[in-house]
Symmetry: C2
Subunit: 149 residues, 2 copies
DNA sequence: GCTTGACCTCAAGTTGACTTGAAGTGGCAG
DNA sequence: CTGCCACTTCAAGTCAACTTGAGGTCAAGC
């Protein structure tokens, strides 16, 4: 079993064929040949897809992800850029931890109002200032590819 | 200083007035009155916005967020649902941690190919199976509100 | 009393990440 | 040889979360 039919990839990864085609068009993965019309993928694609899904979970756009993991699939950026990305994720982990703890706190704390509970206010104060990942208006010049016309 | 003009809220929170109006229409926040045409918000809105931004960072949609933090602004769900949400976030933290470590690893590891490095493969294997947060095709019946027409 | 500037409304546009639909193709089971 | 069915292409649609634009309002300062 050397190559994987797009159907197998879809089944094993849980990603729909149309999404896989979209990823290919976007340059995130690449099929190695065709069987009739059907795209055939190399086994490595499964790992690439795992990396992609991790990146998506981290809130990175497909453009950013394709930036981190070069066209070949393996991360190939200068060390400092990678560490920078890692730092970014680290900050996100902190926010998420604060949110999780906040949720757990309000689930268990029986104070009359959470506003009066110092633990609550402390948790909420952990997050802040370094906001905006997903909804910012920074002109993402990562556009330009994938402009079907 | 009891109420905040939408301009003050925008300035202090970094969220644009149009986004604040959008949040209000979506029922995430509510203005308490008007000064002329200008919306006036109660001070609590700042905390609500902080919670909203935490939720967004966690990858929740506005609909999900408005589900967690009732119309009044404070989380008001049954304990077990809150813990469930917290568990979900916990899983996400694990994925993010794996991604961060993967990035740091490839930044520092000087193996000829990462595929041959056991540390790399171990890191990648941490994530998996419980995928799909943001891009799933589950028919989100969280629709229905905000359907202007 | 007039201007100004920050807000207002409402409709329409944008972006990313896909999905859907129509029309077609081709390997394989029977 | 004939269907079938999962794939193919390409264009267009969808959805969330906003932003933008046109045209309007109003409290405050000069």
């Amino acid at each position: 079993m050397k190559v994987l039919d797009i159907g197998e990839v879809a089944a094993q990864s849980g990603i729909s064929p149309s999404a896989l085609r979209y990823y290919e068009e976007a340059g995130l993965i690449s099929s190695i040949s065709r069987h009739g019309l059907r795209r055939q993928f190399p086994p490595e694609v499964m790992l690439q897809l795992k990396l992609i899904s991790m990146g998506k979970m981290a809130g990175f756009s497909l453009a950013e992800i394709s930036g981190m993991f070069g066209r070949n699939g393996m991360p190939d950026l200068p060390r400092d850029v990678l560490h920078q990305k890692a730092d970014e994720i680290d900050r996100q982990i902190h926010e998420l931890t604060a949110l999780r703890d906040t949720l757990r706190h309000v689930a268990d704390c029986r104070a009359p109002s959470h506003m009066e509970c110092p633990a609550f206010r402390r948790l909420v104060d952990v997050a802040g200032r370094h906001g905006k990942r997903r909804g910012n208006a920074e002109k993402s010049k990562a556009r330009g590819n994938l402009s079907r016309s």
